[in-house]
Symmetry: C2
Subunit: 216 residues, 2 copies
DNA sequence: TTGTCAAGAATGAACGTTCGTTTTAAGTTG
DNA sequence: CAACTTAAAACGAACGTTCATTCTTGACAA
């Protein structure tokens, strides 16, 4: 038998995934042809189709990887018992997702393509739903900690705040993909300014009052 | 002459755009074939190609429409001299974008597809850049008003706060597209809670101090 | 160690399909 | 009838995928 080592098989698979990632990040899933992927991976059609049964399978594999990496970043920072302010903690998440300087992790354009593809694939939608549920739970705990410590009014359901915070991170990643610019520090500052706002009808700045009527 | 009235021409064009919008919102630009568009619009190939020279032109027309609608919503609410709190004003924007109950405006899934396509098209990227610049200017004015009134610390550049707020709206729209759920009211509440936070090392809740060190 | 050999891995030309678009002919309207 | 719109068939190009073939690998006999 001329069976090749498992490491070799894994490396080949990764080689294909990496090449495909570059293509997909550059041109999206549908505008990238298999020929493009083959060229970028430096392999022939037959070789690639030994590792992935179809283009769809390749797309799904990459999308699931992206979910894993992004979801992992969101959960990794939620372990703290004494959570830092929202701006800092979101900054940590984003630095994990973007790759801290040296090695690039998830290119924001690829993430946008994955979002778009998720709208068309039931399999991806299910995976994203599960990942999102886990992330949301983790962040509900963070918000709960804020509320228990009296740092945040607790008459707003923690889930709504958690979703808003996750949305802030997603919006930042989207802007990174679309406009390139925007440092993580800018987001940290922006959120810092928002969290330190003073309700307009309450110049004293009491934070746990009901400055503008109860939420609906 | 069998020349048809201008109204008829406009109506036909709109009929095509509407059908294509439904298709694109459902399946994305690339997974939608021209046959799909023709069927949905109830027209033949020859008819459609009389109004749009190519599929790309049709895609661009729809994307530009979406930019116009979303950008318009962001700017429409920025006219106020005495801006409401961020949560409320963002709620207004989103209700404009989503269509206030009755008529649907921009379906969030279509918006996600437009974002993805913008990453591949220089023409769309340019249009989005211009629209984003205008929206950002408008929101810098809003944030400036907050800061001038002492409602928000002014040691954070208004542009960074504006971009963060725009990101909140984009993140909400993304979640609407991906998960369907999430009411605009939830976002208003979430932002209300965030803006009423108390800095952790400053229990008194002074809003214009420097509760956790100056921004970088 | 070296040589042999079969099985697995990789190749790339070719296939059938489907795409966006064009062409041609029939239909419609003032 | 003339001017113009619509329908539908047909086109070339490009796509994802397959398959007959060649190359490479690693166990094993000597």
């Amino acid at each position: 038998m001329a069976r090749v080592s498992q490491e070799h098989l894994d490396a080949r698979r990764r080689q294909i995934l990496d090449g495909a990632r570059r293509c997909f990040a550059r041109n999206g899933f549908h505008a990238t042809s298999m020929q493009d992927v083959l060229r970028e991976a430096g392999l022939s059609a037959g070789a690639v189709y030994r590792y992935f049964r179809s283009k769809d399978e390749l797309v799904a594999a990459i999308a699931l990887e992206v979910f894993e990496e992004v979801g992992g970043a969101f959960e990794a920072v939620s372990r703290s018992e004494d959570p830092p302010p929202p701006g800092r903690i979101l900054g940590e998440v984003l630095r994990l997702v973007l790759g801290d300087g040296e090695e690039e992790r998830v290119p924001p354009p690829l993430l946008v393509q994955v979002w778009a593809e998720t709208l068309r694939s039931a399999e991806l939608a299910e995976a994203l739903d599960k990942g999102y549920a886990r992330v949301r739970e983790a962040w509900v705990r963070i918000v709960g900690a804020y509320q228990r410590r009296g740092l945040m009014r607790d008459d707003v359901p923690a889930d709504q705040v958690a979703r808003t915070l996750i949305g802030v991170a997603q919006g930042f990643l989207l802007q990174r993909a679309l406009f390139g610019a925007g440092d993580v520090t800018d987001l940290e500052n922006g959120l810092l300014a928002l969290t330190s706002m003073r309700p307009p009808d309450d110049p004293a700045g009491r934070a746990d009052g009901a400055p503008e009527g109860p939420p609906v």
